[in-house]
Symmetry: C4
Subunit: 264 residues, 4 copies
């Protein structure tokens, strides 16, 4: 694979991953969406089929990493770091494009949600502490959740641990994928497997932190959230931003280490 | 493939697509259905398995486009427009047959729903503006929704954008399918992949407009809605009808263009 | 395949089909079940994975028809009626064994449900018409629903039509399966496809009658319901019993006819 | 396969099975989880994708039994008991590691749930019988349910019967898997099949006892529950612990016997 194929494949693939992944969160949490309140199962399957679609489309070009942690794990496994910068660059750019496309596809829903008086308080609402908290919970918080993850209980060690464990499972599954498909490349069945593994991680390990398990998936959209002209959008929670970047990278490194010891 | 095989395959396949796709909406929204209120996840999986079943049945005859936007994307990719009219004709005819079969399968439910006093108001109900709106929301609106899509927030540019983005993802996935299956044709696994991609698009991008992403899927059943002798059925919302036709065709053209530049 | 393999395969396979299919209804509707009120999506996926499991287990022995309508369709397609009685016999026997296993697996739940005072009324409850109707709706009706199907709106022509349409889709998909799998037999992927087609038919066409789409699936358990010593079980609704037998056979015949004209 | 590969594969695989399987229960039942109240469908799919992920990862090393009942069934089928102790040892160790990882991933949620005044009663709550029962139902009971199974209606014969029937279906499907995959080993498709069979067993036969269908899945985490320093955790229900060990082994033996008679 040429560097340009890798860059283009990762950019397109990660854009589609985030478009569909962020999209399902928008669909479930925003006002004036037909899917509103469709629940956690809808969100986890939505992210899984986002992986499926993105892998399917980008696998012929770049092998469909779509995740800096996956790229790190494969680099450690193969002791080959030459393409890592190209992968990471495409992934971050793709994630930002995908988040922007979510904003375009749900433009009316974002506006309706963030300007609804019942959700964020009217112009004459008293700006008490309680009102601000309520508006955050019903308005700006869910909107940030369309872009980036945040923990239910904020504790750096605990949140980091959860992200490490989740990404460890993902990357170990991706690395063993080659052992199951007899060297035929990712293909359709491999993409389905990885997609269902991601649904499984979401269902089983998503409860505490919302399962970033992918630095680009969290950082790229958070940057876009900070840049977009959304009304009443609130802050982008930068104090948490390092956790879904560092945690997945640690989890991937552990998975690659165990792979090299037990499976290679 | 002969023209007659294509026409028969697309007619049967699109009929089954719309029978099952319209059927799941009828199952979830109509009175006196065991599936009533089964939710958005049921609707999106129902449409996905409708694609699966229809692809499975029609792939041996026509290659299972089942969607004028898919046919357009493939024609642009291959620079071969010779069969486009046959595909489009079969698709529109099939969609109309499918919508009619939904009406037959749910005949009692349509009648029960549209004549229920609590839903559409009794014969002696005052025909105030408020009553008419309520009857539309509970009665005629959901019934039209069995046939055709409609937006949550009506805005031509926004609705068109959402349909363009959704169809872009679908057609790009369909076009790359050939790269993943090593030229073995659509087959069982390819049909499953496309079906799950459609579930994913529904979950992630269906919130604003109900994801037509297929001109025949929307136009054919809308024509049938206008023709069927349903009591209290209301209008067929023709002012919106061009959006789910034009949007998907634009999205398909963009996907084919990007495919030819980046993947070919 | 020998006659004894066919009979054993169909008996075991249909027993597992009904064990898991009836089981999921018991799980969702009976008192003292962890899955109570898990909803229509659980029921339709449960029946689909029942098909998957049963096909997987019986395919090597009998080709996994598991449904007299499927056997009829294949017999018409192949103009070969020699094994039809063996298939039908195994299917009916298997369905009766499966229904009995549901009763064993949910023995405590059946008893708890049918003797609960809040559900069926206490021993000193006035046996008014209203009380009887309520007890039927909450108690004996759901229990019969574990075994056999029943319509939401009782009308022979309408119910027959719905069962014909649903079975038509199923049998057409089964017949075209051979065209998609390049003559490799049903195998794992083929079984998954048929299972998901059944989920799709359930979601999309199950609303009016509960989608028997299989004479043995309905008749066998209904006989067992009539024989089992369940307290307060009520009648077995024999007046409806012919519809889910005749409808599926008609649907299968139509599917085989269309297959022979358009696909063969 | 060498004994060390088997032991490592079963340990890693069963650890991942229980991490994801216990994880989904924690996600759905514990306070301060994004997935709280996601329902029975989430739990059954979560366990299924836990199987998928664990099979995928461990199949190349150990063939992915991950369940002492499966190992027993295969030993009976092959009349080869040489590796059974290695498999069973790895499975029990892996299950204990997996349960510990669930505790780490949901550390904050366990603490929040078990110390919440509304759930387990405050320090000054009267320790009446009624209070204790309520705290058990809302607090310690669900937490034990993250680790081990328990019946809705406690009756040894009935509970044993349900576990026998469920495991019988699982092991018969695993044994026939070799007949469907033409001797290609478990691979990706075989793992998906078994995973969906487990979803099906959960949906259809999980209602009465919570479907252990695996002695290691229940016993390993129960030991960990007894050892972990969880506040207000209550007892580990050891009186029931033999049922989900003995039942699955009996079910597996019956399945292997029937396999050897009818399929071999």
């Amino acid at each position: 694979m040429s560097s340009s194929d890798i860059f283009i494949g990762e950019t397109i693939g990660t854009a589609i991953l985030i478009l569909l992944g962020g999209g399902v969160v928008a669909a479930v949490v925003l006002k004036a969406s037909k899917a509103r309140n469709a629940g956690w199962l809808a969100i986890t399957f939505g992210w899984g089929f986002a992986v499926l679609t993105a892998v399917y489309i980008s696998a012929p070009l770049s092998g469909a990493h779509l995740n800096p942690a996956v790229t790190l794990g494969i680099a450690i496994k193969d002791s080959d770091w030459s393409n890592l910068p190209v992968y990471w660059g495409g992934q971050l750019l793709g994630a930002m494009i995908g988040a922007t496309l979510v904003w375009l596809a749900y433009y009316g829903q974002f506006h309706a949600h963030l300007t609804d008086k019942e959700i964020v308080g009217g112009p004459d609402a008293e700006t008490t502490q309680a009102k601000a908290v309520e508006a955050q919970e019903k308005g700006a918080g869910p909107v940030l959740g369309v872009f980036s993850t945040g923990p239910e209980i904020r504790n750096a060690v605990m949140n980091l641990t959860t992200e490490i464990i989740g990404t460890f499972v993902l990357v170990l599954a991706v690395l063993t994928q080659g052992l199951n498909d007899n060297g035929n490349g990712l293909g359709a069945v491999g993409g389905l497997m990885v997609a269902l593994v991601v649904v499984g991680i979401g269902l089983s390990l998503g409860g505490p932190t919302g399962y970033a398990i992918n630095p680009a998936r969290d950082l790229g959209p958070r940057i876009v959230h900070a840049l977009l002209p959304l009304p009443n959008k609130g802050g982008s929670d930068w104090s948490y931003a390092w956790v879904p970047v560092v945690g997945p990278l640690i989890g991937a490194a552990i998975a690659a280490g165990i792979y090299n010891v037990a499976f290679a």
